[in-house]
Symmetry: C2
Subunit: 176 residues, 2 copies
């Protein structure tokens, strides 16, 4: 193969700490603190008290929600290093949330300015032709025949049939 290997990198809960954004909202708006134990193996909404179950959907659809998500620790440094060695593509299922599109575009421009527009993909199903795929949702690996790296998040802790990375330093150790 003459070309560089291609890596697809997800946004939410991989380079963007979207769970932390949610937790800060529940802390502020509902005086609620969720522990790692309460979130273990669960979607965030399922770890919430029943009366708040539907609120994740409300918050996530608000314009601006995706604009100030904290950056995942070490992701900027490691993605920049990967960008030199591989063909790196950001691949987010942004299409699920209309209002996320411009926020995610601007967020990437602010925190990952070295990623050119040609290498950004907002989609639904991730039918991308890449060699390595870093994502926290194992459903996105369906049909994918390359190397899948499951980025650890509370909701995927009970899944054990994928190569796993717990943080960006582990991604660096494996791929750099």
């Amino acid at each position: 193969m003459n070309r560089k290997q291609r890596i697809a990198i997800d946004m939410d809960d991989v380079i963007a700490d979207t769970v932390e954004k949610f937790l800060s909202i529940y802390r502020r708006e509902h005086n609620l603190e969720l522990s790692a134990e309460e979130m273990h193996g669960k979607e965030l909404r399922d770890a919430l008290p029943a009366e708040l179950y539907s609120t994740t959907r409300q918050y996530i659809n608000q314009p601006g929600f995706f604009r100030d998500i904290p950056v995942m620790p070490d992701s900027q440094r490691v993605v920049k290093e990967l960008y030199e060695k591989y063909d790196v593509f950001i691949v987010s299922a942004a299409m699920e949330f209309r209002n996320s599109l411009i926020d995610k575009y601007d967020w990437l421009a602010e925190y990952f300015p070295f990623i050119v527009w040609e290498h950004i993909i907002f989609c639904g199903l991730k039918i991308v032709n890449v060699d390595i795929f870093i994502d926290d949702r194992s459903r996105n690996f369906a049909g994918f025949e390359g190397r899948a790296l499951l980025y650890t998040s509370h909701h995927n802790l009970l899944i054990d049939n994928y190569e796993r990375v717990n943080n960006w330093q582990q991604v660096a150790d494996k791929l750099l």
Copy 2:
């Protein structure tokens, strides 16, 4: 293969008559009428008088530009029929223009409401894993090993090394 065949369909100058939108602007704003002969084998900007060369870039970056593009004749009917038989994905290089994202999303919702968000891809490089690819830009076929259908547009009339479709009825004749 158990799954349906996948088709990627481009937006601009394939399901959206973007050249016609430009022509209507030049007609209205500059009292300029471009003939098919003047556009033959050229990018639109190269068919314009020199003093207007840079204006395509200005217009295309305006919020709203992509929201009211005319729908390409027969595209709604044929894409709907394709959608029944194939896994159809809309694949647009929308990422080149920040302000196009929401306009394109809303345009699709209005004119192609049957296309679910999972099947919409806004990207740069079109590294999609599909079987059939309908696009007016042959550069998007680079590295693609499936069946490429070059959708005829003024700018691609001098390209002769791809299977060509001149309109949506011809797509229907080939694929339905």
